[in-house]
């Protein structure tokens, strides 16, 4: 019987005396062994259940073995019980059902979502109790009561609601105990009733952290098998929560879960015969020492392991004596000695295993964070210069690298390095690499620092003119700039909360929606008011004229039918398309908004709403194969229509054949149906089809690169270069079409569609500058990363993309394909940015602006996140939420770096030419 948030003083303290009389009576009469079990943080229900059932410390072995899969795959008590043929019944919190979906013969879950309810949740558990207790067809019954936790969240541990709830729990305990006692008369084996809490309750009523109130929970084992020790009630002993798993396993005759770090609760087996006691302890210590061997490389030197070896030897001697029939004092004394030795060994083993949990290589982490921070500061400092007209900024590298500061810094850092490496006990990454590398790192740090100092002094020298510039520029900030600034800031800040990382897609969807609305506003204003009305307020004289202008404007497009009638005779052919274009332009942000809303329903990602049904699941279910085939076909046709506008004629054919190949590939591996193939054919791996597509991808890419080289070597005009870039873009689109799962093809279509619409109706007519366009591309790229079903959780990674067209697992191509398939959104948008900017002839230095902005906008969140994670390394969700996100960010940064290098190469070709 597990009572959520049962704090130790609710049972052992004054509240227990007052509200839990029966439990008190049991303890006084000696029916029960009572302990205070210490829960390790995170004191949240799910990890606690894992700890109780596996005996391991979640966040350590758990995470290394398997990134938070919802089903508990680790060796655990319930699984062992099921394997041993025991029938387990469960009522209570549905977290258990998520963890153990197929283990219970009977269950009824109550959801813990709605906190204000503290009566229904418990009644839903208790209503089963009467019937179940009468039945004989179960071996283990687990009850999880949530009401107390809800009361705690709502009103805190001192509320008046706690008392009645505890009374209710006491009554239930009494009911179960009495019925068990009455059953026991018939049964051969005694029953065991365990009352425990999963975590405590802080003084405010919450839980999750590691205060004393939150980690101490009561643990009561009640059974008639325990010998009564009448009289003085001893204060409860402090034990670990993980000890319960080992104890229960021994008690039920099951193997101890493999990753359990707990040691058996000795008082429980105290009254067994010496042989049994020793056997139990031996079992436990063998299991612990195995775990130690797996996790610690130098396990022979561990004191716990040595003690275990000694006690095993002694145990052998004892057995020998015992089998010889020696029954004297010697045997008893030796037995006691072995026992003591075993208990010590267990204690040390358990300790050294638990200590493994958190060991961070702080030194290396700090060095890495400092480098990242310095580079970001450098980028930020050079922003005003880099974004000015000539887009050139110099880094005072040579002058600063010979300064005194630089040498001083290198010396100090090297000294620090030597001191740390010689004194550190633990292994440290920076100390293990060769000293030459380490010195290189030190020099990098100090060089960057010197550059920053030099830049800072330079800016302070020119502070007066630049201040004026700033004042001038800040007044000219449009709503869009403000939105971009605050959006970036808000996103960076949101990375500090684990929920926002889990639901990061919401942040991006929200931001691009707002961006679209802002664009809509801009387009609207641009059209209905023009520049005149803004102007008119400054120049008040022109009011009447402007009124006329506005009126004229109105005439132009509001009354389309009337005016067009008038103009039809003269210039209908000229006017009408213009009018339509205006309306299309006005509608385009709304169209993009609708596209985004549709894409949202395609893949439901994140954590909180991941269980919601989405369109993608509907499509992939086997009943809807025909719909999926039609959709795939339509999407491929749409992709061709959208892409072919910018293709050269050769690559147009290649594109068409390639898209046909994609469909054939999907048909071959059985995702979609070909129209003539009604019945289910044998499913192949589709290697030939996939390679067929690869040939065309490579062909298109090759054409593009050839064009680029041509433009560089023979000084051809810019159009060849942009044609080459578009060809590269198209090749990547084809590759994406091959790698995306068929239900995700609409994502690609909408991405191309939105790019086309934005280019035609928003970026070109509104004349956004390169920085704005870059940041919009970045935002959309991020949003499309989530639209295609990714999240910050490793579980959503689509590994199957790495096997497309490969016979077996080959590491490099598989890795490349997987990374590309995961980051299709950001990559395609970035390449589109490059192609778009290079096809705009009039923009000088646009590409260098764009690459700078792209690097800056990507590096700000990453560096902020690295610092955040370093400071939050003891957070509850560090392994389940923060580290996968760090992994994603790292790969994203790598891709960004590659893209920026590509940008710079493209820009360089531009510079060489004149």
């Amino acid at each position: 019987m597990l009572v959520d948030a049962l704090r130790d003083d609710f049972v052992f303290g004054s509240k227990g005396v007052q509200f839990m009389p029966y439990t008190k009576y049991l303890m006084e009469k000696g029916f029960a062994h009572n302990f205070i079990a210490e829960a390790k943080p995170p004191t949240v229900t799910m990890p606690r259940i894992k700890a109780l059932m596996t005996g391991s410390i979640p966040g350590f072995i758990d995470v290394v073995m398997n990134f938070n899969s919802p089903v508990l795959l680790e060796d655990n008590l319930i699984g062992q019980a099921k394997a041993a043929g025991k029938r387990v019944i469960f009522y209570g919190d549905d977290t258990w059902i998520k963890l153990f979906p197929k283990h219970f013969v009977e269950y009824d879950g109550t959801t813990s979502f709605f906190v204000p309810d503290f009566k229904e949740v418990d009644d839903n558990v208790t209503r089963h109790l009467d019937t179940v207790l009468k039945r004989e067809d179960w071996d283990i019954l687990i009850l999880h009561y949530l009401g107390l936790d809800h009361i705690g969240h709502l009103t805190g541990p001192h509320s008046s609601l706690i008392g009645p709830k505890l009374k209710e729990m006491d009554y239930i305990l009494k009911k179960i105990h009495i019925s068990l006692l009455s059953k026991e008369k018939e049964a051969s084996l005694p029953h065991l009733l365990v009352l425990c809490g999963d975590h405590g309750m802080s003084e405010a009523g919450g839980h999750g952290a590691s205060s004393v109130e939150e980690v101490s929970t009561p643990l009561l084992l009640i059974s008639s098998a325990f010998h009564r020790k009448m009289g003085n009630l001893q204060p409860p002993k402090h034990v670990q929560q993980t000890d319960l798993a080992a104890t229960l396993a021994v008690g039920l005759g099951l193997p101890i879960p493999k990753n359990s770090v707990g040691s058996i609760l000795y008082p429980v087996v105290e009254k067994r015969t010496m042989r049994e006691q020793l056997r139990f302890l031996h079992l436990n210590s063998v299991q612990l020492s195995r775990l130690l061997q797996e996790n610690v490389p130098m396990y022979e030197k561990d004191p716990g392991f040595q003690q275990f070896k000694v006690s095993e030897k002694l145990h052998g001697n004892w057995i020998k004596l015992y089998l010889e029939g020696n029954n004297s004092e010697v045997l008893l004394n030796l037995g006691k000695k072995v026992l003591k030795q075993y208990l010590d060994a267990l204690k040390t083993l358990s300790m050294s295993l638990s200590k493994q949990v958190a060991q961070y290589d702080m030194y290396s982490m700090m060095v890495g964070a400092i480098i990242v921070l310095e580079i970001t500061i450098l980028l930020l400092l050079s922003t005003p210069k880099a974004l000015c007209q000539n887009a050139a900024f110099e880094i005072p590298l040579s002058s600063s690298s010979f300064s005194l500061l630089f040498y001083l810094m290198v010396l100090i850092l090297s000294a620090v390095h030597v001191i740390i490496c010689t004194s550190a006990e633990r292994t440290c990454f920076l100390c293990s690499i060769s000293w030459l590398m380490a010195v290189g790192v030190m020099m990098l740090i100090s060089a960057l620092l010197c550059v920053i100092v030099a830049l800072l002094t330079k800016t302070f020298e020119n502070v007066r003119p630049s201040a004026q510039n700033l004042a001038a520029s800040s007044s000219g900030w449009s709503e869009l700039d403000l939105l971009i600034l605050f959006g970036t800031l808000g996103h960076v800040l949101s990375l500090g909360a684990s929920s926002f990382i889990e639901e990061e897609h919401q942040t991006w969807y929200f931001l691009i929606n707002t961006l679209c609305l802002a664009l809509g506003h801009e387009v609207f204003r641009n059209h209905f008011l023009g520049k005149d009305l803004d102007h008119n307020l400054a120049v008040e004289q022109n009011i009447k004229k402007n009124a006329k202008n506005v009126l004229q404007y109105k005439n132009d497009y509001v009354d389309v039918p009337e005016t067009s009638k008038i103009y039809k005779a003269s210039s209908s052919m000229e006017l009408l398309p213009k009018v339509y274009e205006k309306w299309l332009q006005l509608a385009s942000p709304w169209f993009i908004l609708i596209c985004c809303r549709l894409l949202r329903t395609l893949n439901q990602t994140g954590v909180q709403w991941a269980h919601r049904l989405d369109f993608g699941h509907w499509l992939t279910s086997s009943d809807h194969k025909i719909e999926l085939s039609v959709l795939t076909c339509l999407s491929l046709i749409m992709i061709f229509v959208l892409v072919q506008r910018r293709c050269s004629s050769v690559s147009k054919v290649a594109m068409a054949l390639g898209l046909l190949g994609v469909f054939c590939y999907r048909a071959a591996i059985g995702n979609v149906l070909l129209p003539w193939q009604r019945d289910r054919k044998s499913i192949s791996k589709g290697i030939i089809e996939a390679r067929f597509v690869y040939v065309f991808v490579l062909g298109i890419l090759f054409t593009g690169i050839k064009d680029l080289l041509k433009s560089q070597i023979i000084f051809a005009d810019v159009s060849i270069k942009s044609l080459g870039l578009w060809d590269i873009y198209n090749g990547l689109v084809l590759l994406a079409a091959l790698l995306l799962r068929p239900h995700n093809l609409p994502v690609l279509v909408f991405s191309l569609l939105i790019q086309a619409v934005m280019t035609k109706f928003i970026w070109k007519p509104l004349k956004h500058d390169a920085a704005q366009v870059t940041i919009m591309h970045y935002w959309f790229g991020q949003a499309f990363f989530y639209f295609q079903g990714n999240s910050n959780n490793i579980a959503t990674l689509d590994i199957s993309a790495g096997f497309v067209g490969l016979e077996s697992f080959i590491e490099v191509p598989a890795l490349f394909l997987t990374v590309f398939a995961t980051y299709i959104g950001p990559i395609l948008w970035a390449i589109h940015l490059l192609s778009f900017l290079s096809s705009e002839n009039n923009r000088s230095s646009a590409i260098s602006h764009a690459s700078f902005c792209y690097a800056l906008i990507c590096s700000i969140p990453v560096s902020a996140y690295i610092i955040l994670v370093t400071s939050l390394r003891y957070h509850l969700f560090i392994w389940s939420v923060f580290s996968p996100k760090l992994l994603y960010e790292g790969v994203h940064l790598f891709i960004t770096a590659t893209i920026c290098v590509f940008f710079i190469v493209m820009d360089q070709t531009n510079l060489i030419k004149p």
Binding site: F500, E503, N513, C596, R597, Q608
Partner: protein, 268 residues
């Protein structure tokens, strides 16, 4: 829109009032409020005192609105059983939007003169009223559409979403309708940069912006896993909009008072 055109051509005077804001409106205001006597002074003096008085009036109106919103949170519990803002949120939404709507209409009818009311017939008035109602309804639908585009569920919780749209348009569209009338072009003018000329235009701009931003910010706590009752859709957003509106009501008199010199209050 088509109906708008001839009127604009016909009554250029009205346009001028709208564009130039200012003194005519204030004159009419003073006629309405009897206790304000300091009328016939020099132009400049009159302007500044008028301005101060107008700001004072604006402040009182806004305080009245805030008090009424606060009252809606607990007055209904005397009449309705189990009333609370969080649990019976929809009821509160209805009551609050009704209350704000009525107070807005009454107060602005009192405070603000209708420039065309004297000249126009009853028929014209009714058409204006009907048009305002239609505009209000359209704005509700528009807000609903935007909220759905932002990711609100399309079919389930339709009523909740719609009531959120209603309260949002009560905070934004209704004051616009009261002050500017169903005149899209005036709205456009007020909501462009540097477009607001008079005190009332400015207060309109600020309250509208702040309620929309409040609703926008109100969506942020939804993904957090605190499991509080106010995180349920759309409570945080409506509360955000309400707080934003109240903040706007408080901020706008202060802001206007501070920037009263810059306001092109008088046209010429």
């Amino acid at each position: 829109m088509k109906i708008l055109r001839p009127k604009d051509v016909k009554t250029k005077g009205m346009r001028q009032i709208n564009v130039r804001g200012g003194s005519q409106r204030v004159l009419a205001l003073c006629l309405l409020f009897v206790h304000f006597e300091s009328l016939p002074y020099g132009e400049r003096l009159q302007g500044s005192t008028m301005k101060d008085a107008d700001i004072k009036r604006l402040f009182y109106v806004h305080i009245f609105c805030i008090v009424s919103i606060i009252l809606t949170t607990f007055i209904p519990s005397f009449f309705l059983e189990d009333f609370s803002v969080l649990e019976t949120h929809l009821t509160w939404l209805c009551i609050c939007s009704m209350c704000v709507a009525i107070i807005n209409v009454v107060l602005y009818l009192q405070v603000k003169p209708n420039p065309s009311s004297k000249r126009s017939s009853i028929f014209h008035k009714i058409s204006r009223l009907l048009k305002s109602c239609v505009y209000f309804f359209i704005s509700c639908l528009l807000f609903h559409a935007i909220i759905v585009l932002y990711g609100a569920p399309l079919i389930e919780l339709m009523l909740e979403t719609f009531l959120f749209a209603v309260i949002l348009s009560t905070f934004t569209t209704l004051p616009c309708l009261c002050l500017l009338g169903p005149n899209i072009k005036a709205w456009l003018r007020v909501f462009t940069r540097n477009g607001a000329t008079s005190i009332w235009d400015n207060s309109l701009q600020i309250t509208t912006m702040s309620s929309v931003i409040g609703a926008w910010l109100g969506a942020f706590p939804i993904p957090l896993d605190w499991e509080r009752p106010w995180q349920v859709w759309p409570i945080s957003c409506t509360l955000g909009a309400t707080f934003g509106y109240m903040a706007g009501l408080l901020i706008s008199p202060v802001w206007i008072y501070r920037n009263r010199k810059q306001l092109t209050y008088k046209s010429r």
